[in-house]
Every structure is written in C-alpha cells, then in structure tokens.
C-alpha cells in the first residue's frame, strides 16, 4: 500500500536496464556501510481498517457540535465559509510546492501577491511577506529583525504578552541573549508613560500585543506616539479578527506588525497549522524574513508574478540569510486570502462587531452569578477574565462533566491566579450555548 504503481513486470524491466536482478542490490553499498540491524515492525492496514481505528480516535476527542468551547487564549474558533475548504482543497494548490518555476506557478504567486496586499490592508502596513509559521514565531522573527536593524539588544516586552509567545521569543533569541525587560502592567494594561520611561539608547524594540493576554485593549496609539521619535522599533502583535473594529498597528505607528492568522479561515486544528502574519515599512523590506512575491513582466510585456528579493533567503545567501525559513504556510495563507475575499470589508467589520457584542453579552450574564465579577474594568474585545468564588480548575472539571469546555483557568499560566478564568466568545457561540454555560456554571458555584 505504498501507492507504488510499479508492476512486477515494470520492476523487472527497470532492473534489467540497470543490469540488476533485484532491488536489494541497489542498497548493497548502504548495507555494507552500516552495522547490521533492523527497523522494528510497524503493521500496515487497509484504508477501511484504518478508518475504523481513526473513528475510534476521533470519538475520544468528543463531538465538537455538542461541546461548546469558551476558550480562546491565542486560538479562536470563527465561522469558515464553505467556499474556503472547497477552493483550497483543489489539487493544483494543495499538491504544488514553493513556486520555483514561476511560469507554472502563477496561481500560487498571484495568491501570495493578493495575500500580501490584504495583510498590508489589515495591519495598515506597507509591505507584508508571504507568511510565517504562526503568530508567535512571527513575533520572534520581528524581534530578531529589529535587533539586526538597530544593532541593539534590549527588548522591552509587555508583561501582558501571551506567555507562550514570550517563551517562543526566548527560544528564538537564546543565542543572542538579548536583555528582555518586562514592561509592567498596572491593572491588566500597559501604561504609556511607563513605556516611555523604560526606553533608552540600548533599546532595540518595544513588543506589545493587542488585545493582550487578558483580552484587554492596550493604549496602542499612545505608546506609538512615544516611540515615534525614538530609534527603537515598535512591534505590534494584532489579532486579525479584532482589526475589523480596533486600531490597526499602522494607525498606531508600528514599525513591524505581526499576527496570528488562524482566525482568518483556519480551523483550530489542535494548535496548527496556523499562519504567521508579518508586515513592516517598505524601508525595512531587505531585512524582512520570509518569501515575497512581486510583479514582473515577460519579454512580451505580459504581467506575472515571481518570488522576489530572494537574495535575503537561505537558498541563495546560506549563512548570511535574514532567516533560515524555507517552506512557510502558503496553503494557510491561501485559506486566509480566500476567507478575506469572501467576507469582504463589510463582513469583516460585522464579524468583529458580532464578537464584541456576543462576548459582552456573555460577560454581563456571567457577572450576575454570585461571586463572579470581571477582573479588570477596562474595555475588551471578545475575551475577558472572570473572577470566580471557587478555584477555576474545579469549574473547568465540572463544566467538562457537563460537556462544556470552559474558559481557560489562568492558573495554567500563572499559578497564583487560582480563581480566574479567561473566557472567550466568538460569533460561532450561539445563544443556546451561552444559556448552557450560565446554567452549568450557576450549578457548579456554591
């Protein structure tokens, strides 16, 4: 079942052309070069047999239509129009590779160009690359880029950054060992004056996420205003869906903008593949990592698209490349491009409004429960921290027993936050699901 089409006769013909009598002879040299040993057996299965097994495994994950999920924390379930999967499953997109041969890769290349345009529009930036692995690694690459551009090694990082993103940043910069200075949050938000005071001559960049890890809306513009006259770069991580309503990184005068593009037409997928959005100012394009499509013309003046500025990349520059990134997340970028084309500017705004309203309605209702209250009095988008009268992990367990995936107990990230839960509600959360949650939570509370 290796999808090998060679018949016995074909194999015989090929071996004869090579003057061999069996396939094993092709490996004789390898065999003599290595110690004797065998690969442990792995049993194969027919497609039907395997499907039964996979169905068993799938059932262990529960039926998503029967288990509403009020969890965001960096991964968000949004409605995906049916046309997205229909388009992206076409074999010409799915089974192609990096468009090294432009003439027969115009589909991928033009999609890259349209994707770059849309990402620029969302983030309010001048130039975007054709995707990174995910939002977290995009942020880490942005920090590396800022350190290359400024030749400084101090990073001011918002304490309100998603803790996993912060960990990825540390992994990616391990060998440079930048000084990572936490920007303190007072009451869940950054203080622009404090950011301004923290800036110094050694600062390479300021890293801010909006909405932040508590779902709160940061004073992006005010922070940007402080940074304009300072050589340090302003790196803003955005949640794309929120950009239908909220200030774009460009409007806040960001130098580099990144984002987790999963919310643009990609399923939750247990964590991946996701999509790293990455955009900057045109003046920095040569220090930008990742693939890039641009317009080109052929000898007859016909317009097409090519991968451009490849001299930044590893296959040309090897150890002097701006990043080691090779393959990216093109198929995810295609999904995002199709998604944004389908929803359009009007739909994009409506989806953001819908999230805002659904989450606020839910927050209002949860706050009516005894002992429950918002942890912060600040504006949020579609996610909020709720203080509970009992440990959040107990609530998580009890709700799951009722077939509900609760908000995230924040003790998962900060052990001292035992009674806090981060709830999320997007447009896919129905009123009925909200009722179920409120009823189940009421039941679970003392």
């Amino acid at each position: 079942m290796g999808f090998v089409p060679h018949t016995e006769q074909d194999v015989g013909q090929m071996l004869a052309a090579l003057g061999l009598s069996e396939v094993e002879e092709l490996f004789a040299e390898v065999r003599t070069a290595l110690p004797p040993g065998d690969v442990p057996d792995i049993p194969g299965a027919s497609e039907l047999e395997l499907r039964h097994h996979l169905w068993e495994m799938a059932r262990l994950n529960g039926r998503p239509d029967q288990t509403p999920c009020f969890r965001g924390a960096g991964a968000y379930e949004h409605y995906i129009p049916a046309a997205v999967s229909s388009i992206i499953s076409r074999g010409e997109f799915l089974t192609s590779y990096t468009p090294y041969q432009a003439e027969i890769s115009q589909g991928t290349l033009q999609t890259m160009y349209e994707y770059q345009t849309m990402v620029c529009e969302l983030l309010g930036m001048e130039v975007a690359n054709a995707s990174m692995y995910d939002g977290a690694s995009a942020l880490a690459e942005a920090a590396l880029m800022a350190m290359r551009l400024t030749r400084k090694h101090r990073l001011l990082v918002a304490e309100t950054l998603h803790p996993h993103w912060r960990q990825v940043l540390e992994t990616y910069t391990a060998n440079i060992a930048p000084e990572i200075v936490p920007l303190p949050a007072s009451d869940g938000l950054l203080d622009p004056e404090q950011v301004a005071r923290a800036l110094d001559d050694e600062t390479a960049a300021v890293l801010v996420q909006n909405p932040n890890a508590f779902g709160l809306i940061e004073p992006l513009r005010e922070i940007g205003a402080h940074l304009v006259r300072h050589p340090a770069l302003y790196i803003v991580a955005a949640y794309p869906t929120a950009l239908g309503l909220l200030t774009s990184p460009g409007e806040a005068q960001a130098d580099i903008a990144v984002g987790e593009g999963q919310s643009l037409g990609l399923p939750l997928s247990y964590g991946g593949p996701y999509l790293g959005l990455f955009a900057t100012k045109l003046e920095h394009v040569r220090q930008m990592p990742g693939r890039l499509a641009g317009v080109a013309y052929d000898g007859r003046g016909r317009k097409g698209y090519v991968m451009t500025l490849q001299a930044r990349e590893q296959h040309i520059r090897r150890e002097r490349a701006t990043s080691n990134i090779c393959s990216n997340q093109m198929h995810a970028a295609l999904a995002a491009t199709v998604y944004l084309s389908l929803v359009g500017p009007d739909g994009f705004r409506k989806i953001a409004q819908n999230n805002f309203v659904v989450a606020h309605q839910l927050a209002d209702r949860l706050c009516e429960l005894p002992g429950c209250a918002l942890a912060y009095p600040h504006p949020f988008f579609n996610e909020f921290v709720l203080n509970l009268p009992v440990p959040a992990e107990d609530i998580e367990r009890e709700l799951w027993d009722n077939g509900i995936i609760s908000g995230l107990p924040l003790s998962r990230w900060w052990p001292e936050r035992t009674h806090q839960m981060l709830f999320c509600a997007t447009e896919v959360i129905t009123d009925a699901a909200c009722h179920r949650l409120v009823a189940a939570l009421e039941e679970a509370l003392p």
Binding site: A75, P273, K303, P379
Partner: protein
C-alpha cells in the same frame, strides 16, 4: 495573459453575508471607546462568492501540482498525497479541537501524537522525537538549539559548525541563526564528504556537523560511521538533515549511522501535501543524551491518560504557540499506519529504483555529476550543453512545454548547470519513460533547434519573467493608483 487581481474585480456594494447580527442593539458597541477604534477600514475586495470561486479556480489552473503531473523536483520528494489523510484531517473531531482543551477532552489527539512519536523513533533509531517544529527549517533550528544547549551544559559553548559544500541552504542558515560560525567542508571528486579535509577542520571549538545522507547529489555517504566517529571524538555532535530520508525509510536508520539529532520533513517522506510551500512539519529526533533539551510540550502517558508535559527544566523552550502543526502530524500518522514498515520499504525501494532507471536512460545524452549508482535522486550537469549555448534553465523551461515540472536547477552549488532529478516512487514506468523521452528530445534540440529552447516556455500564461527588474522596481502589493482601477 495575466489574470486580473481580485482587487480589480471589486465593485463597491458587492459581497456575501456569512454572519448575521443576531438582533443586538448598538448599545453594546458604544462600550468601545474612541481611542480603541480603527480609523480606516481595510480595503478588502468586494466580490461575490461566485466571483471568488471562479477567480481562485482560474488561479488553480495556472498552477502545477503532483495531482496535475510529474513533479521531479530534486530534494523535495513530490510524491502522491493520499486522500484518506485529507478526509480525516477535515473531521471536526480533529480539526475543531482547541489546542488548550483539557487533556481529558483530547485523548484521541494526544494518542495520535504519542504513537506518531513512537513510530518515528522506531524508524529512525532515535530515543525520542518532538513533533513541535512547523517545518524542516524550524526542525533544524530546534536541533541546533539543542546542540548549543548540550555544549553549554557541559561547561563550554563551542562556536563552529561544519557543513559540507553540498548541503541544503537551510543548514548553514540555521547554524548561523543559532550563532555558530559556519565552516564549509569540501567534497571529494566523488561527491562525498572529504574525510581527510574533515579531520583537518575538527577541533575543540567544533559543536557539530550537519549532514544529509544520501547527500544532495543523491549519493550515499559510505564513510558515514567514520565521519560521525570523528566528530564524536572531537567532542562534537552529528546532525542528520532528513530531507532525503525517502531513500532509506523502512530500511536504514540515521541512529545506526551515528547521528545524535535529526529532523524529518513530514511533507516529503511521509507524504503530507506541500501546499504551495507549506505548511509542512519537521519533527526532531534525538539520542538519549539530548533528550533533556527537547522543546515543550511533549506528550506523555500519565495515570489518567495521555497529557502534555511542559515542565522540563533543561528544555530549549517553546517553538510555537501550541504543539506544532498537528493536522500535518495526523496526516503523517495516517500514512505510517496505512503503509507500515513493509509499505515503507517498498517506498524506498521503488524510489531508488525509479531514480536509477531514469538516470540510466539519460546517460549518454547528459553527463551525470558523478557516475555510478544513485539513491532516490541524481544530479546531471548541463555543462556540455552550456558550451553549445544552452543552459540548465533553458532545459528546465523547455520541459514545461513538453508537459513536465522541471527538476531543481542550479543546486547543489558544487555542480555547474546542475539538474537535480527526484522522480519519487509514485510515478509509473510510462511517466518515467515519457520524461526520459522529453529530456532526450531536448538534448537533440540543443544541436538542432536551440531557438525553441531559448524561447521556452511558450505554452504557459506568461513567458520567462524578468526577475532582475522585479527586484529593482518592487511591486509587492496591489494599489489602486498604480493600476488606475477600482479600489
């Protein structure tokens, strides 16, 4: 003809409605303060669903894929991607699962990850694997960060990494990104690592070597055990770039060659779709001595079932927001379970047979970079043709007109006018023969009809595009003023 962009097809007021407002009142929206509001809306195209489907369907028709035809792109392993994997990956029980679900609500997912790790470890002779890396290059980053940490924990950071001159570009780029100085090891006239030269490069500052085996010339490094031994004797580690593992899968194990750390490209050997350049996945395997440094999270079997393990004090940390490209891992799991070891042996056998057969058919018309048997791919040089005014790129473009995706060209860098051909095991004999015939026809055209080679491709929507001009006059996004069309 170029296809117009969606932005040019946009007309104000067009669109489709996917989400309704559920009757909420504007009162809620007034809770959003002015400081937080966006000023200018993003100028996305305004088009109907029908227009979107037609637009992308026509773009798809301007693309080549394994589903369209033979795609012998060297070092990329463009094999057939089974459809079962696509179907299962779309099941909401897998695709709609939130990454931070309680473990109790994700036992199926965790078991898929646990068993995939176990199977990859068995196939590669490694102690453990991490499934977190999102691509081969991120796998390399992960592996080299572990190499760095290994030396640090032994008290002295070493600063040099040796990379053969035939290596993939990601190897030196990764070593440099992790802060190592890259030293290039020359190849012998046979295209293998020059062991004598390697001895001269080894010293107390060498952190390790990064190797592909078979190498990018499609040749098996016969002296691999000695190479790994020498590196180990000097206190370094050996990194295996698994991009070419399709040649060996199910038969031989990098662990037995002496490697300490390696990555696999699931989108190559394990047949997950390449998607136009990703997403892939680049799991990293390690021997016992590197196990403490694996990135988090890992999956373990606990008292109450499978769970993620994130508390590992010596870990290099986290590579992604969550646990990597899970849906790609699921597809690889399906491929592994479908084929089993016997199927995988058939894969490597057929891949090597097909490459050797194709090489044999082309000898005479083209010169091999190195004579003799190859593994799963081989490299030809068009040096002879270049003397007659035809370059590798001309041959590649002419292949397009004859109905094939071209091989990888101008790589490895050590071979002038290189054509790197990897047919994979899933092309049938008729296709291999047809490709050979096309190449032989081109060889004849080099003397008989050079114009047709220089003019190629002529059957495509655009001809050869001027990349130099494109890099000078950058046009990286659509703008209404430039095109004078609808915004």
């Amino acid at each position: 003809m170029s296809a117009r962009t969606l932005f040019e097809k946009s007309r104000p007021g067009r669109g489709s409605n996917y989400v309704d407002d559920r009757g909420w009142t504007p009162e809620y929206l007034s809770r959003l303060p002015d400081f937080a509001r966006r000023g200018t809306a993003p100028a996305l195209p305004e088009v109907t669903e029908g227009e979107v489907v037609r637009h992308f369907t026509n773009l798809a028709r301007r693309n080549w894929g394994v589903d369209v035809g033979c795609y012998p792109l060297g070092s990329c392993t463009m094999k057939y991607n089974p459809r079962l994997s696509e179907q299962i990956a779309s099941w909401p029980e897998f695709s709609a699962a939130h990454p931070l679900r309680p473990a109790r609500a994700a036992q199926g997912w965790l078991r898929v990850m646990y068993e995939t790790e176990r199977m990859l470890s068995q196939l590669c002779g490694m102690a453990r694997f991490t499934l977190a890396p999102a691509a081969g290059a991120q796998g390399e980053l992960c592996g080299m960060l572990m190499v760095r940490r290994y030396h640090l924990e032994r008290g002295a950071l070493r600063h040099t990494v040796i990379v053969p001159d035939t290596a993939h570009g990601t190897n030196p780029a990764t070593a440099a990104q992790v802060g190592f100085r890259v030293v290039t090891c020359p190849s012998t006239a046979d295209g293998l690592v020059n062991v004598k030269a390697l001895r001269g490069l080894l010293n107390e500052d060498v952190a390790g070597i990064m190797l592909t085996n078979p190498n990018t010339l499609g040749l098996f490094e016969r002296e691999i055990q000695e190479i790994c031994d020498l590196v180990h004797q000097a206190g370094g580690l050996a990194y295996y770039d698994g991009a070419n593992f399709n040649a060996l899968v199910g038969r031989f194990r990098p662990g037995d060659m002496g490697f300490d750390v390696m990555h696999l490209n699931l989108h190559k050997t394990f047949s997950t779709p390449h998607g136009g350049g990703g997403p892939g996945a680049g799991p990293v395997g390690v021997s016992e001595k590197l196990e403490p440094y694996l990135p988090v999270p890992l999956v373990r079997k606990g008292a109450e079932g499978f769970e993620f393990e994130s508390d590992r004090p010596s870990s290099i940390g986290r590579l992604n927001a969550f646990a990597g490209n899970a849906l790609v891992v699921l597809r690889a799991y399906i491929y592994l379970r479908l084929l089993g070891r016997a199927g995988l042996r058939e894969v490597s056998g057929a891949a090597v047979l097909a490459a050797n057969y194709l090489q044999q058919r082309l000898l005479g018309a083209y010169e091999p970079a190195h004579p003799g048997r190859c593994m799963h791919e081989f490299v030809l040089t068009a040096a002879k043709q270049k003397a007659q005014g035809v370059r590798a790129v001309d041959i590649a473009k002419r292949l397009i007109d004859l109905g094939f995706h071209p091989p990888t060209i101008y790589f490895p860098l050590t071979v002038p006018e290189a054509l790197m051909i990897e047919p994979t095991e899933t092309e049938n004999l008729e296709t291999l023969d047809a490709f050979a015939e096309a190449m032989l026809q081109i060889a004849r055209e080099v003397t008989e009809n050079r114009e047709v080679l220089h003019a190629a491709p002529q059957t495509t929507p655009v001809g050869r595009l001027d990349e130099v001009a494109a890099a000078k006059e950058l046009n990286l996004r659509w703008r209404p003023e430039r095109e004078g069309e609808h915004a």
